[in-house]
């Protein structure tokens, strides 16, 4: 494990393994997917158990559910406009899925599925397919005019069009790598400083006192990671909204 053999092994936490016994193994259902199911169950629990009272004056859990609803609704209407309300369920699901995934990953023994590029890229690819399909459905061929802004000099077309296409295609990549890299970096840091605690504690009489230092850093890091977990979910959702705005309004 981590501190064994006096070496730092920060990456084994991202190792995939199958979950749910032989049944899960037969369909390659990993512990990462198990955590996705837990996240989905938690979101469902918050939004349906929290709202079960349907109270006029909400309680604590209902306030939380309503706050998350109104937070994403505000974001969607602010970024996309009124016609963006039909994308609200998608953005809401995306935001809550990423947020709960990030937060769940901070618990001990939990797996952070947002630290896997395959998972984040799958989410980003979903966004990419959605914005492209929406833009094509709403604007048809005019969508391709998006790659050459109106009013630009024609002789710049050979430069502008490839740049615009590359920037459009790089959206899912930047979207997925941003989330993936942030989560990996945070969890690697946590693991490295946690290993320092154990290693320093073994250094004779002064060791335990020295190990207080990385412990302090780790306490601060956990708080920082909570911030990052929320921030990255927010960034993912708001970039999705901005892309959807581009798809709906084409500029």
């Amino acid at each position: 494990m981590a501190a064994e053999g006096k070496s730092i092994d920060a990456l084994s936490q991202f190792e995939l393994g199958t979950a749910l016994g032989p049944l899960g193994a037969s369909v390659n259902f990993t512990q990462s997917n198990l955590h996705m199911v837990i996240v989905a169950a938690l979101i469902f629990a918050l939004m349906s158990y929290g709202m079960r009272a349907r109270a006029l004056v909400p309680g604590r859990l209902q306030s939380l559910a309503e706050a998350s609803y109104e937070f994403i609704m505000g974001m969607v209407t602010e970024q996309i406009g009124h016609e963006g309300r039909r994308f609200f369920p998608f953005v809401f699901t995306l935001f809550m899925f990423v947020l709960f995934g990030n937060m769940l990953g901070l618990f001990p023994y939990a797996f952070t599925f947002t630290s896997h590029i395959a998972a984040t890229f799958a989410l980003a690819a979903m966004v990419f397919v959605l914005i492209t399909v929406v833009a094509l459905m709403l604007h048809g061929k005019k969508f391709f005019g998006y790659f050459f802004p109106e009013g630009a000099p024609l002789w710049l077309a050979p430069i502008i069009i490839p740049v615009e296409i590359v920037s459009y295609l790089s959206r899912p990549i930047s979207l997925s790598i941003r989330l993936f890299a942030n989560m990996v970096a945070g969890h690697v840091m946590l693991k490295v400083f946690a290993t320092f605690i154990v290693m320093l504690a073994g250094l004779g009489a002064v060791g335990p006192f020295l190990s207080l230092l990385p412990l302090t850093i780790n306490v601060a890091l956990v708080g920082f990671e909570v911030l990052v977990a929320f921030l990255q979910a927010y960034v993912f959702a708001i970039l999705t909204c901005i892309y959807l705005h581009d798809a709906v309004h084409l500029h």
Binding site: N28, F29, S32, N33, R54
Partner: protein
């Protein structure tokens, strides 16, 4: 890095399962959970709007009642003032009439008294000559023992006419 080990079939299977789980979550949230939240929020918004409307209506009716009250007060005050003015006028007229009656009676009494006074004075003036003659006769009799009635009467008449009265 285990995340980049794409030879491992679990890395891609993870993404496939993600699509399945995400799709399921999206379906449940979209078709069942989120409409419920929307209903609750809409109900609350409607309730608040209805309450606000009711409060606004109450305020309007309260304002109307206030205005009515003020109008009634103003009207009552005007009525009271006109009543006071009428009463004062009536009282003045009554007092004037009474004063006129009194004045008339007083003038009448004064006239009567003046009549009586002038009658008494005339009577007194008329009896002055006989009184003077009697007095003069008595004085003359006392002084000289006798009196000539004709001479006394003539002297008295002379003296009276010399005084200028009668």
């Amino acid at each position: 890095m285990p995340q980049l080990d794409f030879a491992n079939p679990m890395v891609l299977a993870q993404a496939v399962w993600l699509l399945v789980i995400f799709g399921g979550l999206y379906f449940i949230l979209n078709s069942y959970v989120l409409p419920q939240v929307a209903t609750v929020l809409e109900d609350r918004a409607q309730r608040i709007a209805a309450d606000l409307d009711a409060a606004r209506a109450s305020k309007l009716s309260a304002d109307a009642a206030m205005a009515e009250l003020q109008a009634a007060t103003a009207k009552a005050r005007a009525e009271a003032q006109s009543a006071i003015a009428a009463a004062v006028q009536q009282a003045n007229a009554h007092a004037q009439a009474q004063a006129e009656v009194l004045n008339a009676r007083l003038a009448e009494q004064i006239t009567a008294a003046e009549g009586r006074i002038s009658a008494s004075r005339d009577a007194a003036m008329a009896s002055l000559r006989s009184v003077a003659t009697d007095t003069a006769t008595a004085l003359v009799t006392r002084l000289v023992g006798r009196a000539d009635a004709a001479a006394v009467d003539g002297a008295v008449g002379l003296a009276l006419s010399a005084r200028g009265s009668l």
